[in-house]
Amino acid sequence: MQTTTILAQASEISGEDTVWWALLRIGIIVGFLLAVVPGIIWWERRLLSWFQDRIGPNRVGLFGFLQPIADGIKLFLKEEVVPDKVDRLIYMIAPAVALFPAFVILATTPWGPNTLLTPIADVDIGILWVLAISSLGVYGVVLGGWASNNKYSLLGGLRSAAQLVSYELAMGVALYSVALPSGSLRLTEMVQRQFEPLYGIEWLQSWFILTPFGLIAGIIFFICMVAETNRAPFDLPEAESELIAGFHTEYSSMKFAVFFMGEYATMLAFSAIFAVLFFGGWSPVPLNLEYLANLAANNGMGWLSSALTFLLNPWLAPVWFLGKTTLFLTFFIWIRATLPRLRYDQLMAVGWKYLLPIAALNFVVVAIWMMYGWPAMFAAFGLLILVYAMYVAVVRMPRAKKFGPTLTLLDIPANTDQTIEVTKS
């Protein structure tokens, strides 16, 4: 079993797991999150500016890398405006409550093979921890929105509550459909499950995203995690055009900065979890490198073998992991630059009518695969697609023809004072 040899290599740091090790693990994660959030903000601003054909912040420091630090100092030194009739206690604690889930959600996520350095707690409820803590994320938004005593803020908070409760369900079901083949809710074991051969081919690793059910679950999870972090196109709680800034309209100075930090830290945390659950955690590529290294060594290509073995170095594991995390952060930003905001009814329809049923059916398909193997799974997939096609052909299409009014613009001359006629057919 190759995973055990990787673990054996990683035991360079070893010893008894004491409280000090636990504190060190906590320190690593919290320190890393605090250190990296300005970097994420810089990355988002530069990327967005490139997407929009602008230059973006490039004056402070090399490539404008110190811009978020300058902004942070500016925010901390600004005058703090607290509106008169706020509920002061809740107004004060809301940003802290918003920041809390971002820092504890990574507690069960492994960064590498060494169990003394990551994760903070390798408990057998790893995935449930992620779900539970992400469901706490809504409190900061709702409390901030309510305590501000502003109708826009309250609307933002209420929208956020409804949105998170809706998308949590689909996210949970998507997660269970990869927990089922892993046979464990422990995130470390789910990573190790992804080192096993894919479709029985020995030089591939079965990252869940490469399996059909995992692909569907991964897409659903990604959509849900964008919704859970209140990012565009699901940023209705802070829709600038309708609600000014939603739940943080009345927040200024440091408290606004804390809300902002919470959002970016949560983005990072969810990207990391996505990498762990669907992209093989800390393995660099979906290839069984140890098998390939042995193969290369047997065929007299020693240099290739040593290069492949070097990639498996446990000290490089966090590099691969963080590389994937950065990739998914980039996806977040890419989506924000590309897609317009959803309408509220569209948001609810996507969550309840599409994501949740698809995730649930996917779960059934996984169960069929576990019981009867790959052929039955592909048959089940085929059957589902057939049923959906039938549904569209028999129910949806005739209904659309019957009820859907279509507007047809008549041939309009270029310059005319005539009113434009529109026929309804």
Binding site: D124, L128, A132, I133, L136, Y139
Partner: protein, 167 residues
Amino acid sequence: MNVETVAFMILALLAVVSAVGVIAFKSPVRSAICLAGNFFILGVLYFMMNYDLIGISQILVYTGLIMMLFLFVILLLNLSAPQMLQEKSYIRWWGAFAVAGALGIVVFSQVVMPLEWALSPTSNPELGTTKSVGTALFSNYVYAFEICSILLLVGIVGSILLAKRRG
């Protein structure tokens, strides 16, 4: 005194403070937040006793969803601190004190006194794991489990039916 005892004491203090906060605050939103915090700390206390699954269910279901719904309803109805809830009758005050005192004596004699020898809480680490709970649910208690799930399903369908009929 080991680390776990210190952690337990801090958490227990927080749990008591938040529980008092639930009834001490006049604003319903503050009370609801205290209750949510209390549920969360209870979940952490379950973790300390090795009941991981119960603890995370506590946080996921109670703190994450049920209290969120409470809060949602309070916000939607826009309840402010009602003056009507002020108790004016002093006889009731004394009655409440008497009942609380009696309850306190019972709790003290039954729970706090035995704590003397229960300072280092231990439990079978296998008992609260997902595996053992799942095995129990799907072997010995499978009928009870399935009947419960049907009951829940009926509840869900019923609530949707009621909401539809009124709207």
